[in-house]
Symmetry: C2
Subunit: 333 residues, 2 copies
């Protein structure tokens, strides 16, 4: 694809809506626009925001590039929840309160570009593979750690979507058969131990029973205000209790990732989400657990990497999927 072509990337998060313009040949997004996702106003309002932000992004980038009209070849969007990609429909997105919403057709009705829609974890994984930590590898698993734990799997440079677009539910793999109840109803899911809310809960529970931690001071004694971000902040400041909480989560993450390594033997695993702010406090115990649990030859063949596009992987990946679609990649139809 020519270096002068551009793609609009859209990342529809439960909290923020991010839009940017990505060079079709790859590169950093330009004209980034971020605003709160107006989920409470319904999906049509979000579509209106997307199209307005896309036009602003195109106009701003065009002005920066000298004023000539830009050649925009498409719009790729990422969205939480199960997606019917062929139909471009968001089947269900609890965070957004959308059901059976024809996102692709609604956007295409307002713009002249072709539109693709994919799952947010797939977009972030694709972004890290195309332009981020996983550049140049042929097989990669992305693990996103946030409110939930999601995943994406790229093989031979293509996303693996599975038989019904549902592959990558890494957070709901069982690592502890009789363990903690997960929100999905299952026992012992990885997500029940290592998602942001699970980490925050664990930290609060321990402090409710007494004990001293920087965490308590960071929230002025109001334990209910502790979030995963507070825990990462305390870890980076050297707080032993917060470090203990994070280390426990890292071990569970390591067990879940060891399973991915033993099943798929990927070249790389990229860890995405706020938890990567904890840096080596996360990666040292996580990698030790993977080494302990997965076969040595498979561990040696696999690099475990922090994300390199923490703010923009979703936008870049959504645009990259549109680019692959225009190039005829059958996994992006």
């Amino acid at each position: 694809m020519s270096a002068e072509q551009w793609i609009v990337g859209v990342d529809i998060g439960g909290t923020n809506l991010v839009v940017g313009l990505v060079p079709a040949a790859g590169g950093e997004p330009r004209g980034l626009r971020i605003r709160a996702t107006a989920a409470e106003r319904g999906p049509e309002a979000v579509v209106t925001d997307i199209v307005r932000m896309a036009r602003e992004s195109v106009r701003e980038t065009g002005e920066e590039m000298g004023g000539a009209p830009l050649d925009v070849v498409g719009l790729g969007a990422g969205c939480p929840g199960p997606i019917d990609r062929a139909a471009g429909v968001v089947i269900e997105s609890p965070n957004l309160q959308w059901r059976e919403f024809p996102l692709r057709d609604r956007i295409e009705a307002l713009v002249d570009w072709p539109v693709t829609v994919d799952n947010d974890a797939n977009c972030a994984t694709y972004g890290e593979w195309w332009q981020g930590a996983g550049r140049g590898v042929s097989s990669l698993v992305g693990v996103t750690i946030g409110t939930g734990i999601g995943g994406g799997y790229i093989l031979d440079g293509r996303l693996v979507h599975g038989a019904s677009d549902g592959a990558g539910e890494v957070g709901h793999t069982t690592v502890n058969v009789s363990g903690r109840r997960c929100a999905c109803g299952n026992d012992g899911c990885l997500e029940a131990y290592a998602s942001g809310p699970a980490i925050a809960n664990r930290a609060r529970e321990g402090l409710a029973a007494g004990g001293d931690s920087l965490l308590t001071r960071l929230v002025d004694g109001e334990l209910s205000r502790i979030t995963a971000a507070t825990v990462y902040e305390a870890v980076v400041s050297g707080d032993p209790y917060a470090t203990e909480v994070l280390t426990e989560a890292a071990k569970f993450l390591g067990a879940g990732i060891a399973n991915l390594v033993n099943i798929l033997n990927p070249e790389a695993v990229v860890i995405m989400g706020g938890v990567t702010r904890a840096g080596e406090h996360l990666f040292v115990p996580l990698k030790a657990e993977v080494r302990r649990r997965a076969f040595r030859a498979l561990v040696e063949a696999c690099r475990i990497l922090p994300a390199r596009l923490p703010e923009t992987a979703g936008v870049v990946g959504a645009a990259g999927i549109l680019a692959a679609h225009l190039s005829g990649d059958p996994s992006t139809t």
Copy 2:
């Protein structure tokens, strides 16, 4: 490939060596030869056996077909242990006591056919996909349950080998982080709960503590003689204790398979090995556990099936991989 072409399929097991002639266009193997694997005489003796059995199989099948010389286009072999497929080398096979053995070159030195070598679980999975329970699906996971638990993954009709030919180590996925120690050194591997030896051990342990079971009578009171096959026999005869032991293993298998379903969203999972003799006594609790643990949409998209080629999947699959190799499938080079 023409219906008149044939491929020699070879399944090198820790116990038995099986050789047969498979139509290149697919079909049942002819001229089957089975003998004990002469592992104690070293790998060269096994190669000699393979080539002799292959020639016998070709001669016998040729006579059955009317006496004209057969058009044999290659030989595909399956072997336990990590394999370097590009080099055709068995890196290490503890069951056979082979290390760094150039299996492909040694066979090719004695025959006029091209030879491919792949892992035994991959061959069995490919056989079930090509000619068995998984015919016609585009994505399939095969799980072999025997002395160990192995696996294979087929996506878009091609085996996924991973970055270093090591994908498919389903038996060594953690389902119980602080659980039973596995022979691999890890805690809580699926294999520690649901392999043949794990099932037999569990049955022996329970009876050593007292209790009545058909199992005791099947081995004339010598509990050390209980194998997984004895357990399956007792289950089929309606023994409640053996059924309880199998049901427990089936639940762990269900957890491990639910993980595969949630990660890969395959169209089918095929269960292979002696344990399938237990029929519904295995599949009912196994499927219930998968339904309990995996997402409903992914469970509904996935059929869980017993193997249809219990004796010959390895031979058929090894031949099928050679056929795919001749057709230019890059995953079989």
